[in-house]
Amino acid sequence: MWKWLHPYAKAERAYQLCNTLLPYFAVITVVCLAVGWIWGLAYAPADYQQKDSYRIIFIHVPSAILSMGAYSSMAIAAIIALVWQIRNAELAVISIAPVGAAMTAIALITGAAWGKPMWGAWWVWDARLTSELILLFLYFGVLSLYHAFEDKKSAGRAACILAVVGVINLPIIHFSVEWWNTLHQGATITKFDTSAIDPSMLWPLLINIAAFAGFVGVVTLIRLKNEILQCEKHRPWVRELIGRGE
């Protein structure tokens, strides 16, 4: 059943798959980012309470969602790397981590810039904000663990274990606004029963989420290609590829 997947454990096939996927992700990113930002900044109506300051939502929510989405994919890759000893999965973990950290940093910075005018403070030690900050440290932890070992085999294993253990933080971030009394507002999109957001704002938000997802894809693929080449740089297929000028 899973036989079609096996060839992708080979570095060369995985590299080719990255090349095939890259243009699709690139197109999604460019189109959605342009449409999403222009729509969100200039065409979406102002909020009745927060006026134009709410426009930060169009980058804050996508980056926050992707910070957790990237972590989930990183953890899945880490489990695959640990259980089946597939090195490409390990490389994927290391490729996703910096992008995920960037998403988390964007979520925190845009959150601070939104919190100042709305709450009167750049930062509060609120459950949502604190757990998101821990997510950033988890990304840093995975990356520094990987780079702390000379032997890349133990480095990969250590980084993967931390990535898997850190998954516990994801439900904490998601439910923090329900479990604790937080300053941060509750979920906007994930409660469909009583639509908390008007379609005129929801559509540009969804497009921006697609743009950020595409961006995470693009950068992860570029970085994964780099990691694969780095590992395989003495192999003939890499020599041939680079000799061809690719």
Binding site: W37, K51, D52, A102, A113
Partner: protein, 67 residues
């Protein structure tokens, strides 16, 4: 269009500083990680090319020694 003029657009109803701070820092971070990934890729390729040339030179030198 929600705004009458460019200056109104930039002012964002008085929240201009916070909105543009967010979008600005977001752009900087996205660009930085994208460009650094591309630069890594270029660096790696140059390294491999240099290594290939080095091996080529060594091979040639050995052949000349034998002659």
């Amino acid at each position: 269009m929600q705004f009458e003029s460019l200056s109104e657009f930039l002012a964002m109803g008085g929240y201009g500083f916070y909105v543009w701070l967010s979008f600005g820092s977001c752009s900087v971070i996205l660009l930085a990680i994208f460009l650094s990934s591309l630069r890594d890729s270029k660096k790696l390729r140059n390294e491999v090319r240099a290594q290939m040339r080095r091996e080529e030179r060594i091979k040639k030198a050995k052949q000349q020694e034998q002659v």
